[in-house]
Amino acid sequence: MFDDDQENRRDFLKCMAWAGTGALFTFGAGVPASIGLDAAIAAPMRGRAAARPFTFVQLSDSHIGFNKPPNADARATFREAIAKVKALPVQPDFIIHTGDVSQLSRDDEFDDAEQMLKTTGLPVFFVPGEHDMLDPEGGKAFLDRFGKGTRGAGWYSFDHGGVHFVALVNVADLKPGGMGNLGADQLAWLKVDLAGHSASTPIVVFAHIPLWTVYADWGWGTDDAAEALKLLARFGSVTILNGHIHQIAQKVEGRIAFHTARSTAFPQPAPGTAPSPGPLKVPAEQLHSMLGITDAMFVRGHDRIALIDSTLTS
């Protein structure tokens, strides 16, 4: 997970110091930095540009239908996560869900997730996780409900507040012995999609499995992610948001910041610390401190996005 470059390693460690405690992670113009939340709020706006600041929320790995230790009711914890979104002091413009909406791709699981999300009254942008591809037609149930108007296995892009958002799918047509996979068709689309944007456009990419190799032995990476990162390299500000590993991991590589979100259903072990990546069976009183949401704040003029992770602990 660590880069060989000592600078990056140092920055990463600085960032990690905040993880799990209400992390704030910032970057800008190739100079990654990590500061405390209070300092960020007090930071002066740069003089230029006056687009309205906005926030969005990342939810991930809700696994609706999961009912085993350590969480007998993943619906209940997802409902708590949504209550947390509704209680945010600044309401987000929209929500992104970075996959594994369901446990087994069942209609009732998708439907319950959809109904709960509807109570926020916010637009929700989805990408599928591998758990959302388990219907007999390999993802059709998910796409029919959450992927209308998308391409291929469910990829798309949109613009909001001067930021270009790209939703990628790396859980379709996985290859034996491999990890996540984007595939040639999606990469060709991505090249065309990004071509129309200037290097100064802030880019947010979201996908289920991390787009950097967190831990190959558990398949926590994407085989052809390097192809996508090459296409993103010319942009001054790129934020990549993933899920899948049910814990926070962060890395900065050049002008690209990587971040994974907590699950709202169950935690997974840190890389290599358990015989398998199966659910971490924590005691009931610890569970809520290991589940959470990520609030992302974009302020035009700062050229950076602040990511604030918070747990479901009240």
């Binding site: 085993k68 791709s105 758990h131 007999p136 034996p176 558990w218 398949g219 199966g278 659910p279």
Partner: protein
């Protein structure tokens, strides 16, 4: 329902089954290979390489808390999603080496070697 009645039912069923075995199944099938089993545990197929006789039925059982699938690399067989405790069986009718993997967690791979 009493315990005695259950016992009786079980015995009766066994008798019927044995009778069927003797009366209707030809001698050649009686020598059918012993079924084989692969357990899925900790995101691995145990054993990763299993050698069986031609005609063996292999049954995979998911012992994890997370769903898995059993999908052959060459399209010969493909299970539905296996939740905890679910099973999938396939009978190998031709000799050869058959690699397979979990389509959710493709780093999980295994091989069945079928000998004539």
């Amino acid at each position: 329902m009493t315990r005695g009645f259950k016992m009786l039912t079980f015995q009766a069923a066994t008798l019927v089954a044995s009778g069927l075995m003797i009366s209707t199944i030809p001698a050649t099938t009686r020598a059918a290979p012993v079924p084989a089993a692969v357990t899925i545990e900790n995101f691995t197929f145990k054993a990763p390489l299993l050698t069986v006789k031609l005609g063996t039925t292999v049954t995979w059982t998911n012992g994890d808390d997370i769903p898995h699938t059993v999908v052959s690399k060459d399209g010969l067989f493909k299970s539905k999603v296996l939740d905890t405790g679910d099973r999938f069986s396939f009978t190998f009718a031709k000799p050869g080496q058959f690699g397979y993997f979990c389509s959710l967690h493709p780093h999980m791979t295994g091989m069945i070697a079928v000998k004539a």
